[in-house]
Structure formats: C-alpha cells, structure tokens
C-alpha cells in the first residue's frame, strides 16, 4: 500500500468544481510533486490529503487513515508547511520553535533546525517582521520538527530568497534519504525538475500527466534544436527545407522540433547562410519540462516573481 493514496477525488465549492476526479499515489522515500498553474486545484487537492478538506467524492488515505475523519491519529506523523505561514505574528522564531517542540513526542533538536534552515540571525525578530524567505524557512523548520513520516510542502519556494531555496532543497534531500514521503506543490518548473521523483501535472482540476521526469519527457515532443536569429524568418519555407516543424517561440528565438542530427544542423546553417541571416547561437537539447507543460496544458507556467502570499493584504486580494 502506498503512503498516500488518492482515489477519484472530487472537491466542489458550491457549483464550482475545483478538483474533478484526481487519483494518484505517493510513496515513502520519494518526492511527489503536484505541478500546475494557479487555480489548477493543487492546494485543494493537498488540503484534502492534509485533512483540512472533506472530499465531495472519492477517497483519500494517508498512512492507512482517512485524514479528514482521523486527523488526530495522523497529526504526530505529518508535517505541514502552509503557503501563508500560519505562525503567531508576534512570536519570534525561537519561541515558535520551542512551542512546536512541545507538541511532539520525539522532536528534532532546535539548534539543529536553526542551523539547517539558517535562521541564526533572526531568532529574536517577531514573525511579522521577518522577510518572506525567513518566514518560509521557519515554516519549513516547523513542518519537520516532529520527525514526520509524511511532509506536505505547499509552494515552499514561492517568493523565497536564494538562501531559502538552498535550505528547501537540502531539507527535501534529507527527508527523502530518511524514507519520508514528501508531497510538494509548486508552479516552478525548475524546482519540480530538480527535486521530484514523480511529477503530477494538474490542470483545471484534472491530472493531465503523471510519471517520472523521464517518462514525461519521452512522452512529449522529445528532442529539439533552438536557435536565435533576427525575427521574421519565413517559417513555412524553413520547415519545408528541414522537413521538421519550426516555430518562433519569442521574437528572434526559434524552435525546431526534431532531434539534432549532424545532417539537420548542416541543412539549417546552409539555409540560413543562403538567406544571409546571421545566427546568434544554435543549441541542441532535450525538450524541457516547460515544453511538456506547455504541450499538455496549452499555457505557459507562471513566472517566478509571484508576490509572496503572506499577511493579510495578499489574502484579501485572493
């Protein structure tokens, strides 16, 4: 039996269906990532696995328990990092760590957590005066203080500082090696690609892809060539010359959706030479998770520069 099992999960808010028939499993010792644009149903899905939300239909099972009904039996085995922190605004990191230390039977050492999440300089600052990254790091430390078997990290790198990003990666690697089941949600492809053993792509409340990074890559358009050159090359002419589909992704950035054989590269350069077009660079490579995501959902993933959703201001605007 998998550590987390979700079967045909539906979550509806009145008429609106946020999650429409999601099924997946997540195993111990693995990082399972739910990737999707904002509003795809990531948080609703995760909150039903955390026990916050009652499924409108379907079943959720965590470590053998129904998280909504049996939450008190699960709380000592799970760790949660919420998007909004959820920490007393006047409490300092040191006080929060001591408080949470008191909740668990076998908590991790506080000084170890401080070092792991690099909170040394912030220990006496009230939570509300911490930077977004410091808040995220404290929230992460509190998620793992009880040595949980299952850890939920909801957008752990949203609005985080580079230091925090490294801390998140380090912590996730540690958790994995200790056999923890990590369920991560993110809209950041790079983090998903770097950290995940398994990726679920969620769009409009439905899973549109589920597999390892390799699975997802090979199921998609595969290898390609990218090159930069002045904008406005005749794409249909070039496509005919190369016998492959060419698209202009952004002004002056072209994508040739076919593997980079020496012959193809030769034909591309001679075509461009024949037109007297100056080429910036030519890169052969595998399609990125971004390409996969775009192909499956038909939309680009959001940029990283999302506002951190701490505090009341951003909450109201949601």
């Amino acid at each position: 039996m998998a550590t987390i099992e979700v079967n045909d999960l539906y979550i509806a808010y009145g008429e609106k269906i946020a999650v429409g028939g999601v099924s997946f499993q997540a195993n111990s010792g693995e990082v399972t990532t739910i990737l999707g644009p904002n509003g795809a149903g990531k948080t609703s899905t995760v909150e039903s696995v955390e026990g916050y939300k009652k499924p409108s239909r379907g079943s959720v099972n965590v470590l053998g328990f129904d998280p909504y009904r049996d939450l008190p039996k699960l709380t000592s085995s799970i760790g949660v990092m919420l998007q909004n922190g959820g920490i007393y605004p006047r409490m300092t990191p040191l006080q929060a760590l001591h408080l949470f230390h008191g909740y668990y039977k076998n908590p991790l050492r506080i000084d170890y957590l401080i070092e792991l999440t690099n909170l040394q300089g912030t220990l006496k600052t009230p939570f509300r005066r911490l930077s977004g990254g410091e808040k995220q790091r404290l929230s992460l430390a509190l998620a793992i203080i009880g040595s949980p078997k299952v850890v939920f990290l909801d957008e752990p790198t949203a609005g985080i500082d580079p230091e925090g990003r490294l801390a998140v990666r380090e912590v996730i690697r540690n958790l994995k090696s200790q056999g923890c089941c990590v369920l991560l949600t993110t809209h950041e492809l790079d983090e998903a690609q770097r950290l995940s053993d398994r990726i679920l792509i969620l769009d409009n409340g439905k899973i549109v892809a589920d597999g390892s990074l390799d699975d997802l890559m090979s199921a998609s358009r595969g290898d390609n060539i990218r090159f930069s050159a002045p904008s406005g090359i005749n794409l249909s002419e070039l496509s005919r010359a190369l016998d492959a589909i060419v698209s202009e992704e952004r002004a002056g950035e072209y994508l040739v959706s076919t593997p980079a054989t020496p012959d193809l590269v030769a034909r591309l350069t001679s075509f461009l030479a024949g037109k007297n077009i100056i080429v910036g660079d030519i890169r052969a490579g595998r399609s990125s998770l971004e390409d996969v995501f775009f192909a499956l959902t038909g939309k680009p993933i959001e940029s990283e520069s999302q506002p951190t959703s701490f505090g009341r201001k951003s909450r109201r605007s949601r």
Binding site: G51, P72, V80, Y88, R90, G102, G146
Partner: protein
C-alpha cells in the same frame, strides 16, 4: 499534557507582552479606579459606604470583560486571519487542548488583574466585605460569557472589524455596565437594556459579594448563567477555523 502545557505557556506569554492588550486589561481599569476614587466625579450607589466599595468591583468587572472579550477576540481573530489556527489543526495539540490553554491563559491574566485591583483598592481604603464564594462563582460564569462573546467575534468576523467592534463594546459597557456609575443613574429604558447584558450583572454580583456584602438578586444569576452557556455554545457552532 505536554502540548497543552507548551501552548498554555505560549498563550500566557503572548497575553502579557501585548502592549495594547495590557492597556485595556490592566491600564484602563487601574486608571479608572484610582482616578474616580480620588475625584469622586461620578455618582455612587446609595448603599456604598465609600467610592472604593463600588469602584473596586466595577473595575474588576471592566478587567474581566477586557480579558475575556477584548483580548480574546482580538488575539484569536488575528490567529485565525494569519492561518495560525489552521496550522495548529495539523499538530498534535488538538482543538480541545488549544481551548483549554486559552482558558488557562485567561484565568491567569484575570488573577493578576484582580490582585492588582484589590491591592490598589485596599491602598485607597477599600474594606472588602461579603461572600468570596459568590465572588468566585460570578467571576467564572462571567469569564465564560465574555470569552464566549470574544470567541464568537473571533470566529466569525474579519480581524480588522474585531478590533473596532471589541473596543467599541468595551467603551459602551464601561458606561452602561455598572462599572463607573450605577445603572440606576441611567435613563430607565437604558437601565432595562443594561440589565440584559453581562457587564451590569457581573458588576452587581461583585458589588454585592465583596463591595457591600448584600444579597445578589435573582436576575443577576439568571443573566450570568444564560450568557455563560449561550455565548460559548453559539461561538462553537459558528466558529470558522480557516479564513
């Protein structure tokens, strides 16, 4: 037990380190007690032998109202809007231990308040007379009622609204709660209305039990018991843990 103790310690520390909260829980009651005892600017009940007979029980009422209703509603409202309550929901603390910790914190703060007001009262010449058991029962009933009102606000209103509403009610009840002047000094329609609210009942109970040693009227007990049961029940039915 361990999670409860950790939580109770944290709640007490938060309550005793919040400046604005200490102003309404201790600062204003002390200022009112000292100021009005010395100036005798407002009318006293006819049965009072001295200003402190009336003002010590009155400011104790103000103090209990401040802790139970004002501090509890504002603090818990902030916790709800910041997602603290939601986050605590997935820890081994549990809702009953959280509630117990909050009650513990309220009672600890109240003991400090009552001790401070009693000591200042005695320094001002107060001689407590009466029934301490009635005093304790009345304080506990009123704490339940006021905390229920505080949690009702915390669980249903936005935290910005709570701050205004709680302080507004505090101010209104200061005038019509038998705290700084007897409700008999109010216009009779207002006096009848005041008798329905928990502040006037508590101030009357405390005035009779430790102020002048008189009998506590039936309406006072009825009022305190109804608020003590109804407010927490309504709060628990309507409380939204997650904003």
């Amino acid at each position: 037990m361990k999670p409860y103790l950790a939580q109770a310690r944290a709640e007490i520390r938060l309550a005793l380190t919040q400046g604005e909260s200490l102003l309404v829980t201790i600062g204003i009651p002390v200022i009112v007690l000292v100021g009005l005892s010395l100036t005798k600017a407002l009318p006293l009940p006819k049965t009072a032998h001295s200003a402190t007979d009336f003002l010590v029980p009155g400011t104790m009422t103000l103090a209990i109202m401040a802790t139970g209703m004002v501090s509890t509603s504002i603090a818990t409202g902030v916790e709800r809007s910041y997602g603290v309550l939601k986050r605590l929901g997935t820890t081994p603390l549990g809702r009953s231990a959280l509630l117990l910790a909050k009650i513990t914190s309220i009672l600890v703060v109240e003991m400090i308040q009552l001790a401070v007001l009693a000591i200042i009262g005695v320094l001002l010449g107060w001689h407590p007379v009466g029934n301490y058991l009635y005093f304790i029962v009345a304080v506990i009933l009123a704490t339940s009622g006021f905390s229920g009102i505080g949690l009702l606000m915390a669980g249903t209103m936005k935290s910005e609204v709570i701050i205004g509403a709680a302080n507004g009610i505090y101010l209104v009840l200061l005038f019509i709660g038998g705290i700084i002047m007897p409700i008999s000094a109010l216009p009779s329609a207002l006096e009848t209305f005041a008798r329905l609210l928990p502040a006037a009942a508590l101030s009357e109970a405390l005035y009779q039990s430790v102020g002048v040693g008189g009998n506590i009227p039936v309406w006072v007990w009825l009022n305190l018991v109804i608020w003590a049961i109804a407010a927490p029940v309504i709060a628990s039915k309507t409380f939204k843990w997650d904003q």
